[in-house]
Symmetry: C2
Subunit: 348 residues, 2 copies
Amino acid sequence: MRRPTIMDIAKAAGVSKGAVSYALNGRPGVSEGTRKRILDIASDLGWAPSNPARALAAGGRVGAVGLVVDRPSRSLGIEPFFMQLVSGIETELSATGVDLLLQVTEDTDTELAVYRRWASERRVDGVVMVDLRVDDPRPAAVRGLGLPAVLLGGPGGAGDLPCLYTDDSSSVREVVRYLAALGHRHVVQVSGPEEFAHTVDRGEAFREAADRAGLAGAYSVHSDYTGEAGARTTRRLLAAAERPTALVYDNDLMAVAGLGVAAEMGVDVPSQLSIVAWDDSALCRLVRPSLTAIGRDVVGHGRQVARMLGRVLEGEPVASQESSAGELHPRGSTGPLVVSHVSAVTSE
Amino acid sequence: MRRPTIMDIAKAAGVSKGAVSYALNGRPGVSEGTRKRILDIASDLGWAPSNPARALAAGGRVGAVGLVVDRPSRSLGIEPFFMQLVSGIETELSATGVDLLLQVTEDTDTELAVYRRWASERRVDGVVMVDLRVDDPRPAAVRGLGLPAVLLGGPGGAGDLPCLYTDDSSSVREVVRYLAALGHRHVVQVSGPEEFAHTVDRGEAFREAADRAGLAGAYSVHSDYTGEAGARTTRRLLAAAERPTALVYDNDLMAVAGLGVAAEMGVDVPSQLSIVAWDDSALCRLVRPSLTAIGRDVVGHGRQVARMLGRVLEGEPVASQESSAGELHPRGSTGPLVVSHVSAVTSE
DNA sequence: CGGTTCGGCTGAACCGGTTAAGCGATCGGT
DNA sequence: ACCGATCGCTTAACCGGTTCAGCCGAACCG
């Protein structure tokens, strides 16, 4: 009934613990015949290595990596992003028998405390970090802890952590040019909290692209990724004297909320208002009109970041990598400006 | 630079390893003075217990529990349910310094393999299981593995596992009576895959409640929780000769998809069609019209199930518990049947 | 005043692996 | 035929804790 140990195998095979260890780990030091016999006995006995014992032995790995998700829990549940990321990370990890520890926190201090605990208690071999912030204390902190880490985001502010980053500016430009071509001049970007580094990047890219496209009435407002805030922000924008004709949201959730508010206020999408979502997901395809969105391969990012972390844990030098830019998926929520409506609103 | 061990503390305090262990664990065997001195030194040194070492020592806990999520990855990302559950489980676990291992699998066999691996490698102390199926092999499997577990769902089919279950039938009755009172006779339930135990339960409860309310045209169809399938099912239903006037969906995602299809087909909600979603979430409040939904306290369930597992791990006997039933939140997607429309459709 | 009890601590075994060092037998080279 | 290298395995230390048996001294008791 007890779990078999290598000692049990050793006894059954009539060899020593050490020999069994060599055999099971495929290292030299035991003949092929003996190795086969040991492996057979091990599988007969249903042996599996005790992870705690392995981790304890000289510098062993604990075979687990951590991911801390620090976002308001209301928006969290609904954001497809994290589950997709987790799913991607795991498909890569499971190949090497590494587990994923997931922790949800409420703020950065708690997140840092989790890293400290994981490092000092040897709970994980390394971590994946997401949602890089402006002046983010985490890269320095994990490095101070000696905790191997890979960052999804950056590269600015990543310190010397290897990171997997996307250059959002080309996607932003694509969206802006697309909207401009549809005739939109008054385009507003509803972005996430300005503490996020990618929010800042996208904001700058947006203003630059808008300038270049000659959109005088373009600007950004900050929101917080939750549906509630997205709805509130949209309500304010649509109630303004100079109503925007196109809105670009920083995530899909706020975009759906914006769509709802437009319906609520009798603003037709897309004839009176075009909507673009960042982060494509099933959600964007389910609502009516379906949402034009910028899709990224989040699962792929998860896999790649997991691979990078794996190499870091092997001690190999890992360089930061740029991942493919997001792709624009035009759907029903964007279209040419219908002039009659616009003139009705902006005239007099 | 090396992590301090209890041996370091012992040397600094001029006592033995054993004494340090007693002091740090708050057990008798050392004087109060010595204990305080040891604790001070430990905190000076920034000591934290090595989890692998603790787990290895006589029957120690590994301080982690596992959760396997086995759902098609497309629907997974968007389902608020799991992240809320995870969030609830963690708030409870973090109080005792227990970590959560999350694994996403594609099918039940893989899920069982994960439990086997976790048990044989001693990766977790116990697991939380969700989504009980008809003839579910998991309860027997985890018990065979000697893996402590609690189940969210049941109690039928739970074997002798302690479970936290909801009696959905009262909520189903509430929904059916509500729709009947609004004048609906042709109500269809769009449920999840029939392999899920709660799907079967809800289906039976639905038919019974419909009978009792005298709804002749009520029946259930099976779908699979994804938005795509929900949309397809809805399209078929709304294209039928005898079009339903109210749809009850088994999750929020399919309900949103159904709402989209209704819009696409020019069927007005709620005047021509009422929609009810199971599992309330931000999503239900964001779309227009907002969705009437049955909300459960998923975070609370997560906390409670984590508490139950904690007690199981302590070796205490734990009885199954019934959690509060879901509450109906009426919103814009349900309303009285507007007769003119109905007669236009059902006449001749 | 001698014997028992108890508190406070030490020493060592143990958990289940990994790994360096050592050792006898075999083998190739000269 | 002898030497050194290599192979195949054993022995034992080690990782960082927990825990049990035992020991010493002080207090307590009759």
